[in-house]
């Protein structure tokens, strides 16, 4: 009997200097994580506009994760501090609107944390998969 497993769509924004390198390291070390995760490279986590996150949900993403350098380690000194504030407020707002709070996450992953990257993605995919499809913040037209 074949069961089609529900596979969430995950968009991961990774900063070029830490998290994208961390993802590369996960690859170098062959640390597996689900293929549902697709990474978009941005120079810094602070490049991620809340509009991109909403866009992802509109287009059918089930979860969006933003990865950046650890606070204090930003290649641009302060970028991830702004990310932290923006996302704190945005996520709090999404939660306030009743959007499942587990669908969004910010995680700090350094270039050395290949294992953390893989573990984070494994956990995030699992969490989102448990929620099921994103229904509250979707644009049905996209699924035509």
């Amino acid at each position: 009997m074949q069961v089609t497993e529900y596979k969430p769509k995950i968009v991961a924004f990774c900063c070029n200097w830490c998290s994208y390198a961390g993802a590369d390291l996960a690859g170098n070390n062959r640390l597996a994580y689900p293929a549902e995760v697709k990474i978009i490279r941005v120079p810094c986590s602070c490049r991620v506009n809340p509009m991109f996150i909403l866009r992802a949900f509109q287009r059918g993403a089930d979860g969006v994760i933003i990865c950046g350098c650890h606070p204090g380690d930003c290649h641009y000194t302060s970028g991830n501090y702004y990310t932290r504030r923006r996302m704190a407020l945005l996520f709090s707002m999404l939660n306030y609107l009743g959007i499942e709070k587990e669908r969004t996450r910010v995680e700090w992953v350094s270039a050395a944390e290949g294992a953390k990257f893989a573990a984070t993605m494994n956990d995030f995919v699992q969490t989102v998969a448990a929620l099921g499809e994103n229904k509250r913040l979707e644009d049905l037209r996209c699924k035509l």
Binding site: R59, G60, R141, C142, K143, L144
Partner: protein, 339 residues
């Protein structure tokens, strides 16, 4: 003329719903009346006006026109129109009923807009006389009689009885199928008299549109008052979106995951980017856009449509404009003593 007890309204709507989808004003979560699809439990609201007008039923805020699928160099066009369903809009006020005439003259003029026409063909209008017109009402200005609303069936309601008067064959057919009790016209006649008395007592009852019309372009176009009138206009679309006769639209494409959906949505001539195109912008300032809206209702529309005005005096813009600017103020400012 037929009648039914107000207590039996639910049964009436249920009977209508067997053959038609029924929409009627019902009080929403915010306490204001909105057209709602009738189902058991929905209670008819006698509130004077819904926030949104009844034009939505024929000219909805957004509607899909067609889909395209594209692959390589080829395009496939998919006609997504469906047959549509028969529906009844119950409780439409006289002003909104007139607005359908106004819209008809746009959408049913050649070439006929098939989306609108299909809805119009499927819709049956049950109008409702206004026993308690508000201070913002001025339908009389445009020759509309709230005591004698048009539509397929004209309705009158008092404390315990709803009277229904078929005005068209379509209306008569629907009424006939409902098997209602016949009624004499005495109660309705009395109500009409009361309504007319009340209409005459309204603060705007003296407002006259005689100073306006299709031949008045030169008289009003260059008037300096446009500046002061439009100066604090925010350029939002509230007036146009609550207006039962505003019919400007935009056609837009939405990229779906597999193709393109072309849809139509309301647009507003008050919006700064309404007429912006790559070739330029003919109405540059809010003054021009503001003037366009009111000239259209009071001059351009009558010029093209046998003198019928593009306003029906429903008063929605009077109560909804964020800065309380509205067509009455425009008419009084421009028309002076003649208004």
């Amino acid at each position: 003329m037929r009648k039914i007890a107000v207590a039996k309204l639910d049964a009436l709507f249920a009977a209508m719903a067997k053959t038609h989808t029924v929409y009627l004003p019902a009080d929403g979560a915010d306490g204001r009346a909105q057209y709602t699809r009738w189902e058991a439990g929905v209670v008819y609201s006698t509130a004077l006006n819904t926030v949104r007008s009844a034009k939505d039923f024929f000219f909805p805020q957004t509607e899909n026109l067609m889909d395209f699928k594209m692959e390589g160099k080829s395009i496939e066009l998919i006609d997504t129109r469906d047959e549509g369903e028969d529906f009844i809009v119950f409780g439409v006020r006289a002003c909104d009923v007139r607005s359908f005439d106004v819209l008809d003259r746009v959408f049913l003029a050649e070439p006929v807009d098939s989306y609108y026409a299909a809805r119009r063909a499927h819709g049956v209008i049950f109008s409702m006389a206004c026993t308690r017109p508000a201070e913002t009402c001025f339908c009389k200005t445009f020759g509309i009689d709230a005591a004698e609303p048009a539509g397929d069936v004209a309705c009158y309601i008092d404390a315990d009885t709803l009277y229904l008067d078929a005005k068209t064959e379509k209306g008569e057919a629907v009424l006939a199928a409902l098997g209602l009790e016949d009624s004499d016209t005495a109660a309705v006649d009395a109500q009409k008299a009361l309504i007319r008395e009340r209409l005459d007592a309204l603060p705007l009852s003296g407002l006259s549109a005689a100073a306006f019309g299709g031949d008045k372009l030169d008289e009003y176009f260059e008037r300096p008052e446009w500046k002061t009138l439009s100066e604090t206009c925010l350029g939002c679309g509230t007036c146009t979106f609550v207006c039962p006769t505003c019919q400007c639209y935009d056609i837009r494409d939405f990229k779906t995951n597999t193709g393109v959906r072309r849809y139509r949505c309301w647009d507003s001539c008050m919006y700064s980017e309404f007429t912006k195109m790559s070739a330029g912008q003919p109405r540059l300032t809010q003054l021009e856009r503001f003037r366009q809206r009111f000239m259209h209702k009071l001059v351009y529309y009558p010029a093209n449509n046998d003198g019928i005005f593009g306003c029906v005096g429903c008063g929605r813009c009077l109560s909804r404009c964020p800065i309380s600017m509205n067509i009455v103020k425009v008419m009084k400012t421009l028309g002076g003593k003649n208004v």
